[in-house]
Protein backbone atom coordinates (compact mmCIF):
# COMPACT_ATOMS: atom_id res chain seq x y z
CA UNK A 1 0.00 0.00 0.00
CA UNK A 2 1.52 3.25 -1.01
CA UNK A 3 0.56 6.14 1.19
CA UNK A 4 -0.13 8.30 -1.85
CA UNK A 5 -2.96 5.99 -2.90
CA UNK A 6 -5.20 7.57 -0.29
CA UNK A 7 -7.73 9.89 -1.94
CA UNK A 8 -6.71 13.49 -1.58
CA UNK A 9 -9.50 15.51 -0.13
CA UNK A 10 -10.19 19.02 -1.29
CA UNK A 11 -10.34 21.49 1.53
CA UNK A 12 -11.04 25.20 1.64
CA UNK A 13 -7.91 27.33 1.42
CA UNK A 14 -6.25 28.34 4.66
CA UNK A 15 -6.97 31.94 5.54
CA UNK A 16 -4.47 34.13 7.34
CA UNK A 17 -7.16 34.61 9.96
CA UNK A 18 -7.20 30.90 10.77
CA UNK A 19 -3.42 30.86 11.21
CA UNK A 20 -3.52 33.97 13.38
CA UNK A 21 -6.33 32.60 15.55
CA UNK A 22 -4.62 29.25 16.07
CA UNK A 23 -1.24 30.82 16.89
CA UNK A 24 -2.81 33.29 19.34
CA UNK A 25 -4.89 30.46 20.79
CA UNK A 26 -1.78 28.39 21.37
CA UNK A 27 -0.13 31.36 23.07
CA UNK A 28 -3.16 31.77 25.32
CA UNK A 29 -3.17 28.07 26.24
CA UNK A 30 0.53 28.35 27.08
CA UNK A 31 -0.23 31.34 29.30
CA UNK A 32 -2.86 29.56 31.42
CA UNK A 33 -1.46 29.33 34.94
CA UNK A 34 -1.37 25.72 36.18
CA UNK A 35 0.05 23.98 39.24
CA UNK A 36 3.77 23.32 38.80
CA UNK A 37 3.34 19.54 38.62
CA UNK A 38 0.99 19.87 35.66
CA UNK A 39 3.15 22.55 34.05
CA UNK A 40 6.15 20.25 34.00
CA UNK A 41 4.44 17.80 31.62
CA UNK A 42 2.22 20.21 29.69
CA UNK A 43 3.20 20.14 26.01
CA UNK A 44 4.30 23.37 24.39
CA UNK A 45 1.28 24.21 22.24
CA UNK A 46 3.03 27.12 20.54
CA UNK A 47 5.71 24.77 19.25
CA UNK A 48 3.07 22.29 18.13
CA UNK A 49 1.02 24.87 16.22
CA UNK A 50 4.12 26.31 14.57
CA UNK A 51 5.14 22.83 13.41
CA UNK A 52 1.60 22.21 12.18
CA UNK A 53 1.57 25.28 9.96
CA UNK A 54 5.19 24.70 8.95
CA UNK A 55 4.13 21.31 7.60
CA UNK A 56 0.72 22.21 6.18
CA UNK A 57 1.44 25.71 4.84
CA UNK A 58 5.22 26.09 4.64
CA UNK A 59 5.00 29.44 2.88
CA UNK A 60 2.43 31.06 5.12
CA UNK A 61 3.94 31.19 8.58
CA UNK A 62 7.23 33.04 8.76
CA UNK A 63 10.31 32.89 10.89
CA UNK A 64 9.54 36.31 12.33
CA UNK A 65 6.31 34.99 13.83
CA UNK A 66 8.13 32.01 15.33
CA UNK A 67 10.84 34.28 16.70
CA UNK A 68 8.47 36.76 18.34
CA UNK A 69 6.33 33.95 19.73
CA UNK A 70 9.46 32.45 21.24
CA UNK A 71 10.46 35.74 22.84
CA UNK A 72 6.98 36.06 24.38
CA UNK A 73 7.18 32.56 25.82
CA UNK A 74 10.65 33.30 27.19
CA UNK A 75 9.33 36.32 28.99
CA UNK A 76 6.37 34.50 30.51
CA UNK A 77 8.39 31.42 31.45
CA UNK A 78 11.16 33.54 32.95
CA UNK A 79 13.66 31.58 30.88
CA UNK A 80 16.64 32.95 29.00
CA UNK A 81 15.58 35.70 26.56
CA UNK A 82 15.92 34.09 23.12
CA UNK A 83 15.90 30.46 24.21
CA UNK A 84 12.43 29.60 22.94
CA UNK A 85 12.94 31.91 19.98
CA UNK A 86 15.84 29.72 18.89
CA UNK A 87 13.87 26.52 19.51
CA UNK A 88 10.81 27.72 17.57
CA UNK A 89 12.84 28.96 14.63
CA UNK A 90 14.64 25.61 14.49
CA UNK A 91 11.36 23.69 14.74
CA UNK A 92 9.82 25.75 11.95
CA UNK A 93 12.85 25.16 9.76
CA UNK A 94 12.69 21.41 10.39
CA UNK A 95 8.94 21.40 9.73
CA UNK A 96 9.38 23.22 6.42
CA UNK A 97 12.10 20.75 5.48
CA UNK A 98 9.83 17.79 6.30
CA UNK A 99 6.58 19.08 4.85
CA UNK A 100 6.65 17.08 1.60
CA UNK A 101 7.24 13.85 3.48
CA UNK A 102 5.10 14.02 6.61
CA UNK A 103 1.70 14.59 5.02
CA UNK A 104 1.93 11.31 3.09
CA UNK A 105 1.51 9.40 6.33
CA UNK A 106 -1.54 8.69 8.43
CA UNK A 107 -2.09 10.83 11.51
CA UNK A 108 -0.33 8.27 13.71
CA UNK A 109 2.62 8.19 11.30
CA UNK A 110 2.67 11.99 11.31
CA UNK A 111 2.75 12.13 15.09
CA UNK A 112 5.70 9.74 15.04
CA UNK A 113 7.49 12.36 12.94
CA UNK A 114 6.52 15.09 15.38
CA UNK A 115 7.87 13.27 18.42
CA UNK A 116 11.59 13.47 17.50
CA UNK A 117 11.03 17.04 16.35
CA UNK A 118 9.63 18.18 19.70
CA UNK A 119 12.23 16.12 21.51
CA UNK A 120 15.00 17.82 19.53
CA UNK A 121 13.48 21.17 20.48
CA UNK A 122 13.76 20.18 24.15
CA UNK A 123 17.36 19.13 23.60
CA UNK A 124 18.19 22.56 22.11
CA UNK A 125 16.67 24.18 25.20
CA UNK A 126 18.68 21.95 27.49
CA UNK A 127 21.92 22.50 25.57
CA UNK A 128 21.42 26.27 25.77
CA UNK A 129 20.70 26.18 29.49
CA UNK A 130 23.63 23.87 30.22
CA UNK A 131 25.87 26.36 28.42
CA UNK A 132 24.32 29.16 30.48
CA UNK A 133 25.26 27.30 33.67
CA UNK A 134 22.01 25.57 34.67
CA UNK A 135 21.48 21.93 35.54
CA UNK A 136 19.42 19.23 33.86
CA UNK A 137 15.66 19.38 34.47
CA UNK A 138 13.65 16.61 36.11
CA UNK A 139 13.04 13.58 33.83
CA UNK A 140 9.30 14.33 33.87
CA UNK A 141 10.05 17.33 31.66
CA UNK A 142 10.52 15.04 28.66
CA UNK A 143 6.97 13.75 28.96
CA UNK A 144 5.93 17.09 27.47
CA UNK A 145 7.32 16.15 24.05
CA UNK A 146 5.57 12.76 24.15
CA UNK A 147 2.22 14.27 25.10
CA UNK A 148 2.75 16.97 22.48
CA UNK A 149 3.27 14.33 19.79
CA UNK A 150 0.05 12.60 20.89
CA UNK A 151 -1.76 15.94 20.80
CA UNK A 152 -0.85 16.18 17.12
CA UNK A 153 -3.73 13.85 16.23
CA UNK A 154 -6.61 15.78 17.88
CA UNK A 155 -4.98 19.04 16.79
CA UNK A 156 -4.91 17.96 13.14
CA UNK A 157 -8.56 16.93 13.28
CA UNK A 158 -9.50 20.21 14.96
CA UNK A 159 -7.59 22.45 12.55
CA UNK A 160 -9.16 20.64 9.58
CA UNK A 161 -12.71 21.44 10.72
CA UNK A 162 -12.80 25.10 9.61
CA UNK A 163 -11.48 24.05 6.18
CA UNK A 164 -14.17 21.47 5.38
CA UNK A 165 -16.34 22.41 2.40
CA UNK A 166 -19.51 24.17 3.50
CA UNK A 167 -21.88 21.75 1.73
CA UNK A 168 -21.52 18.17 0.64
CA UNK A 169 -20.33 17.94 -2.98
CA UNK A 170 -23.03 15.34 -3.71
CA UNK A 171 -25.78 17.80 -2.95
CA UNK A 172 -25.40 20.17 -5.84
Amino acid sequence: MTPLARPQEILLPVTTGLIAVTVLGALMVNLVPLPLGVLAVRPDFCALVLVYWGIHQPRRVGFTVAFLLGLSIDLVNASLFGQHALVYVALLFAAIGLHRRVLNFSLVGQSLHILPLLFAGDLISIAVRLLAGDELPAPAHFAGALIGALMWIPLSVLFRLPRLPKTSPDRV
Partner: protein, 301 residues
Protein backbone atom coordinates in the same frame (compact mmCIF):
# COMPACT_ATOMS: atom_id res chain seq x y z
CA UNK B 1 30.30 26.70 -14.95
CA UNK B 2 26.67 25.93 -15.18
CA UNK B 3 24.44 28.79 -14.28
CA UNK B 4 21.21 27.89 -12.52
CA UNK B 5 18.15 29.16 -14.37
CA UNK B 6 16.28 31.99 -12.73
CA UNK B 7 13.38 30.74 -10.58
CA UNK B 8 9.87 31.03 -11.94
CA UNK B 9 8.51 32.43 -8.74
CA UNK B 10 10.24 34.95 -6.55
CA UNK B 11 10.49 33.27 -3.17
CA UNK B 12 12.94 35.40 -1.26
CA UNK B 13 15.82 33.93 0.70
CA UNK B 14 15.77 30.17 1.26
CA UNK B 15 14.43 28.79 4.56
CA UNK B 16 17.95 27.68 5.51
CA UNK B 17 19.25 31.21 5.12
CA UNK B 18 16.36 32.69 7.08
CA UNK B 19 16.76 30.07 9.79
CA UNK B 20 20.47 30.91 10.03
CA UNK B 21 19.82 34.63 10.40
CA UNK B 22 17.14 34.18 13.08
CA UNK B 23 19.11 31.54 14.97
CA UNK B 24 22.12 33.83 15.06
CA UNK B 25 19.93 36.65 16.29
CA UNK B 26 18.50 34.41 19.03
CA UNK B 27 21.97 33.37 20.16
CA UNK B 28 23.09 37.01 20.30
CA UNK B 29 19.99 37.85 22.37
CA UNK B 30 20.69 35.03 24.79
CA UNK B 31 24.29 36.08 25.28
CA UNK B 32 23.22 39.69 25.81
CA UNK B 33 20.58 38.59 28.30
CA UNK B 34 22.71 36.14 30.24
CA UNK B 35 25.90 38.17 30.41
CA UNK B 36 25.14 41.84 29.89
CA UNK B 37 21.49 42.43 30.93
CA UNK B 38 20.97 44.98 28.16
CA UNK B 39 17.53 43.79 27.17
CA UNK B 40 15.33 45.17 29.92
CA UNK B 41 13.54 47.70 27.62
CA UNK B 42 12.65 44.95 25.14
CA UNK B 43 11.41 42.76 27.96
CA UNK B 44 9.34 45.62 29.37
CA UNK B 45 7.74 46.30 25.99
CA UNK B 46 6.79 42.66 25.34
CA UNK B 47 5.56 42.36 28.92
CA UNK B 48 3.13 45.25 28.43
CA UNK B 49 1.79 43.70 25.21
CA UNK B 50 1.40 40.29 26.81
CA UNK B 51 -0.24 41.50 30.01
CA UNK B 52 -3.86 41.58 28.73
CA UNK B 53 -3.39 38.16 27.12
CA UNK B 54 -2.10 36.79 30.41
CA UNK B 55 -5.05 38.25 32.27
CA UNK B 56 -7.44 36.66 29.78
CA UNK B 57 -5.70 33.30 30.06
CA UNK B 58 -5.83 33.41 33.84
CA UNK B 59 -9.49 34.50 33.98
CA UNK B 60 -11.18 31.06 33.72
CA UNK B 61 -9.01 29.64 36.48
CA UNK B 62 -9.72 32.63 38.68
CA UNK B 63 -13.47 32.32 38.11
CA UNK B 64 -13.38 28.59 38.92
CA UNK B 65 -11.38 29.37 42.06
CA UNK B 66 -13.93 31.94 43.12
CA UNK B 67 -16.85 29.57 42.52
CA UNK B 68 -15.11 26.84 44.52
CA UNK B 69 -14.52 29.35 47.29
CA UNK B 70 -18.20 30.25 47.24
CA UNK B 71 -19.34 26.67 47.62
CA UNK B 72 -16.83 25.78 50.30
CA UNK B 73 -18.74 24.00 53.02
CA UNK B 74 -19.90 26.21 55.84
CA UNK B 75 -18.27 24.17 58.58
CA UNK B 76 -14.89 24.44 56.87
CA UNK B 77 -15.23 28.20 56.95
CA UNK B 78 -16.31 28.08 60.58
CA UNK B 79 -13.35 25.89 61.54
CA UNK B 80 -11.01 28.24 59.77
CA UNK B 81 -12.67 31.21 61.40
CA UNK B 82 -12.26 29.84 64.90
CA UNK B 83 -8.68 28.89 64.15
CA UNK B 84 -7.95 32.37 62.88
CA UNK B 85 -9.63 33.88 65.92
CA UNK B 86 -7.44 31.82 68.23
CA UNK B 87 -4.41 32.85 66.23
CA UNK B 88 -5.35 36.53 66.37
CA UNK B 89 -5.76 36.30 70.15
CA UNK B 90 -2.36 34.70 70.52
CA UNK B 91 -0.77 37.18 68.17
CA UNK B 92 -2.42 40.12 69.93
CA UNK B 93 -0.69 39.12 73.14
CA UNK B 94 2.60 38.78 71.31
CA UNK B 95 2.00 42.09 69.58
CA UNK B 96 1.53 43.94 72.85
CA UNK B 97 4.75 42.48 74.08
CA UNK B 98 6.40 43.49 70.81
CA UNK B 99 5.16 47.04 71.19
CA UNK B 100 6.69 47.27 74.65
CA UNK B 101 9.92 45.71 73.44
CA UNK B 102 10.10 48.03 70.46
CA UNK B 103 9.79 51.07 72.71
CA UNK B 104 12.41 49.67 75.04
CA UNK B 105 14.65 48.90 72.08
CA UNK B 106 14.34 52.43 70.71
CA UNK B 107 15.26 53.85 74.09
CA UNK B 108 18.22 51.55 74.48
CA UNK B 109 19.37 52.31 70.96
CA UNK B 110 19.13 56.03 71.57
CA UNK B 111 21.14 55.51 74.75
CA UNK B 112 23.75 53.66 72.73
CA UNK B 113 23.45 56.27 69.97
CA UNK B 114 22.93 53.49 67.45
CA UNK B 115 21.21 54.11 64.17
CA UNK B 116 17.45 53.67 64.42
CA UNK B 117 16.05 50.70 62.59
CA UNK B 118 13.89 51.46 59.61
CA UNK B 119 10.24 50.73 60.10
CA UNK B 120 9.53 48.05 57.54
CA UNK B 121 7.04 48.77 54.78
CA UNK B 122 5.54 46.06 52.67
CA UNK B 123 3.18 45.36 49.79
CA UNK B 124 0.76 42.44 49.71
CA UNK B 125 0.95 40.59 46.41
CA UNK B 126 -0.71 37.54 44.93
CA UNK B 127 1.25 34.74 43.31
CA UNK B 128 -0.04 34.56 39.74
CA UNK B 129 1.77 31.39 38.71
CA UNK B 130 4.97 29.47 39.02
CA UNK B 131 7.07 30.05 35.94
CA UNK B 132 7.28 27.06 33.60
CA UNK B 133 11.02 26.97 33.33
CA UNK B 134 12.26 23.53 34.35
CA UNK B 135 15.74 24.91 35.00
CA UNK B 136 14.94 27.53 37.62
CA UNK B 137 12.45 28.19 40.40
CA UNK B 138 10.62 31.43 39.96
CA UNK B 139 7.22 32.81 40.84
CA UNK B 140 5.35 35.62 39.15
CA UNK B 141 3.50 38.01 41.44
CA UNK B 142 0.85 40.56 40.49
CA UNK B 143 2.69 43.68 41.66
CA UNK B 144 5.32 45.49 39.64
CA UNK B 145 6.87 48.85 38.88
CA UNK B 146 3.48 50.53 39.25
CA UNK B 147 3.47 49.44 42.90
CA UNK B 148 7.01 50.74 43.46
CA UNK B 149 8.58 47.30 43.70
CA UNK B 150 12.33 47.38 43.23
CA UNK B 151 14.50 44.52 42.07
CA UNK B 152 16.33 42.90 44.95
CA UNK B 153 13.73 43.24 47.70
CA UNK B 154 12.79 40.26 49.84
CA UNK B 155 9.51 38.33 49.59
CA UNK B 156 8.04 36.47 52.57
CA UNK B 157 4.86 34.64 53.46
CA UNK B 158 3.38 33.85 56.86
CA UNK B 159 5.78 30.94 57.40
CA UNK B 160 9.07 32.39 56.27
CA UNK B 161 11.22 33.73 53.48
CA UNK B 162 10.15 32.84 49.93
CA UNK B 163 12.78 34.59 47.88
CA UNK B 164 13.88 37.78 46.28
CA UNK B 165 12.44 39.93 43.49
CA UNK B 166 14.88 39.58 40.61
CA UNK B 167 13.12 41.28 37.72
CA UNK B 168 10.35 43.84 37.68
CA UNK B 169 7.91 44.50 34.84
CA UNK B 170 5.30 47.26 34.81
CA UNK B 171 2.50 45.12 36.22
CA UNK B 172 4.16 41.91 37.40
CA UNK B 173 7.43 40.91 39.00
CA UNK B 174 9.60 37.80 38.98
CA UNK B 175 10.51 36.31 42.34
CA UNK B 176 13.44 33.89 42.46
CA UNK B 177 12.72 31.40 45.21
CA UNK B 178 15.34 30.54 47.79
CA UNK B 179 15.32 26.98 46.45
CA UNK B 180 16.62 28.21 43.07
CA UNK B 181 20.10 27.02 42.25
CA UNK B 182 21.48 30.55 41.97
CA UNK B 183 20.01 31.85 45.19
CA UNK B 184 21.88 32.16 48.50
CA UNK B 185 20.57 33.44 51.84
CA UNK B 186 22.79 34.33 54.80
CA UNK B 187 21.30 32.64 57.86
CA UNK B 188 21.84 32.19 61.54
CA UNK B 189 21.12 29.09 63.58
CA UNK B 190 18.59 30.07 66.24
CA UNK B 191 19.83 27.46 68.72
CA UNK B 192 23.57 27.95 68.47
CA UNK B 193 23.85 31.40 66.90
CA UNK B 194 26.10 29.98 64.19
CA UNK B 195 26.16 32.04 60.97
CA UNK B 196 26.18 30.36 57.57
CA UNK B 197 24.78 30.63 54.07
CA UNK B 198 22.10 28.38 52.60
CA UNK B 199 22.09 27.75 48.88
CA UNK B 200 19.18 26.55 46.83
CA UNK B 201 19.48 23.00 45.59
CA UNK B 202 17.50 23.70 42.44
CA UNK B 203 16.34 20.11 41.98
CA UNK B 204 13.91 19.03 44.67
CA UNK B 205 13.13 22.29 46.43
CA UNK B 206 15.51 21.69 49.33
CA UNK B 207 18.34 23.92 50.51
CA UNK B 208 21.98 23.11 51.25
CA UNK B 209 23.87 24.55 54.16
CA UNK B 210 27.27 24.58 52.53
CA UNK B 211 30.81 25.00 53.82
CA UNK B 212 30.02 23.90 57.37
CA UNK B 213 32.83 21.95 59.04
CA UNK B 214 32.05 18.38 60.07
CA UNK B 215 32.20 19.41 63.71
CA UNK B 216 29.83 22.36 63.30
CA UNK B 217 27.13 22.70 65.94
CA UNK B 218 24.11 21.89 63.78
CA UNK B 219 21.40 19.39 64.68
CA UNK B 220 18.44 18.00 62.82
CA UNK B 221 15.44 20.20 63.59
CA UNK B 222 17.42 23.40 64.03
CA UNK B 223 15.66 26.48 62.70
CA UNK B 224 17.61 28.89 60.52
CA UNK B 225 16.63 32.56 60.39
CA UNK B 226 18.05 35.31 58.22
CA UNK B 227 21.09 36.93 59.74
CA UNK B 228 20.57 40.16 57.85
CA UNK B 229 24.24 40.71 57.06
CA UNK B 230 23.62 40.89 53.31
CA UNK B 231 21.35 43.92 53.48
CA UNK B 232 18.70 42.18 51.38
CA UNK B 233 16.77 40.18 53.94
CA UNK B 234 15.87 41.85 57.23
CA UNK B 235 17.30 39.87 60.17
CA UNK B 236 15.25 37.29 62.04
CA UNK B 237 12.95 35.94 59.32
CA UNK B 238 12.57 32.16 59.44
CA UNK B 239 14.14 30.52 56.39
CA UNK B 240 14.51 26.77 56.79
CA UNK B 241 14.67 23.78 59.12
CA UNK B 242 17.53 21.29 59.06
CA UNK B 243 16.16 17.91 57.99
CA UNK B 244 19.25 15.83 57.31
CA UNK B 245 22.92 15.91 58.26
CA UNK B 246 25.54 13.66 56.74
CA UNK B 247 28.86 13.89 58.54
CA UNK B 248 31.68 12.15 56.77
CA UNK B 249 35.08 12.64 58.34
CA UNK B 250 36.70 12.00 54.96
CA UNK B 251 35.19 15.18 53.59
CA UNK B 252 36.05 18.66 54.71
CA UNK B 253 32.45 19.77 55.04
CA UNK B 254 29.27 18.22 56.36
CA UNK B 255 26.36 17.73 53.98
CA UNK B 256 23.45 19.51 55.59
CA UNK B 257 20.05 19.52 53.90
CA UNK B 258 17.31 21.91 54.94
CA UNK B 259 13.65 22.26 54.05
CA UNK B 260 12.41 25.80 53.40
CA UNK B 261 9.76 27.02 55.84
CA UNK B 262 8.13 29.53 53.49
CA UNK B 263 5.47 28.21 51.16
CA UNK B 264 7.76 27.57 48.24
CA UNK B 265 5.76 26.14 45.30
CA UNK B 266 2.49 26.96 47.00
CA UNK B 267 0.07 29.54 45.70
CA UNK B 268 -1.46 32.34 47.64
CA UNK B 269 -0.51 35.72 48.97
CA UNK B 270 2.97 36.92 49.76
CA UNK B 271 4.38 40.02 51.36
CA UNK B 272 6.98 42.04 49.45
CA UNK B 273 9.22 43.90 51.90
CA UNK B 274 9.80 47.10 50.00
CA UNK B 275 12.23 48.70 52.44
CA UNK B 276 15.85 48.34 51.51
CA UNK B 277 18.03 48.57 54.56
CA UNK B 278 20.22 51.60 54.84
CA UNK B 279 23.60 49.98 55.17
CA UNK B 280 26.85 51.91 55.34
CA UNK B 281 28.47 52.26 51.94
CA UNK B 282 30.79 49.57 50.81
CA UNK B 283 34.30 50.98 50.73
CA UNK B 284 35.25 51.65 47.12
CA UNK B 285 38.56 51.63 45.38
CA UNK B 286 39.99 55.13 44.97
CA UNK B 287 40.11 54.75 41.18
CA UNK B 288 36.32 54.51 40.96
CA UNK B 289 34.07 57.56 41.12
CA UNK B 290 32.36 58.10 44.46
CA UNK B 291 29.55 55.84 45.67
CA UNK B 292 26.25 56.47 44.00
CA UNK B 293 23.96 55.73 46.94
CA UNK B 294 25.11 58.73 48.96
CA UNK B 295 22.15 60.80 47.92
CA UNK B 296 20.04 61.92 50.87
CA UNK B 297 16.93 59.82 51.30
CA UNK B 298 13.78 61.56 50.31
CA UNK B 299 10.94 61.29 52.77
CA UNK B 300 7.81 61.60 50.70
CA UNK B 301 5.40 60.60 53.42
Amino acid sequence: MEATPPPFFKRGPSPAFRFGVFALFAVVLMVLDARLKYLEPARQAISIILYPLQQMAAAPGAVIGRITDYFTAKDAVQTENSRLRDETLRQAAALQELEALRRENTELRSLLEAKARLTPSSVLAEVLYGARDPFSRKLIIDKGLTDAIQPGVAVVDSEGVIGQVTRVYPFVAEVTQISDKNQAVPVQNVRSGLRAIVFGNGKDGTLDLRFMPVSADVQVGDTLVTSGIDGVYPPGLPVARVIDIERNAALAFARITCAPLGGVDRRGHVLVLTTRRDLPERPVEPSEPGPKGKKPRRDDS
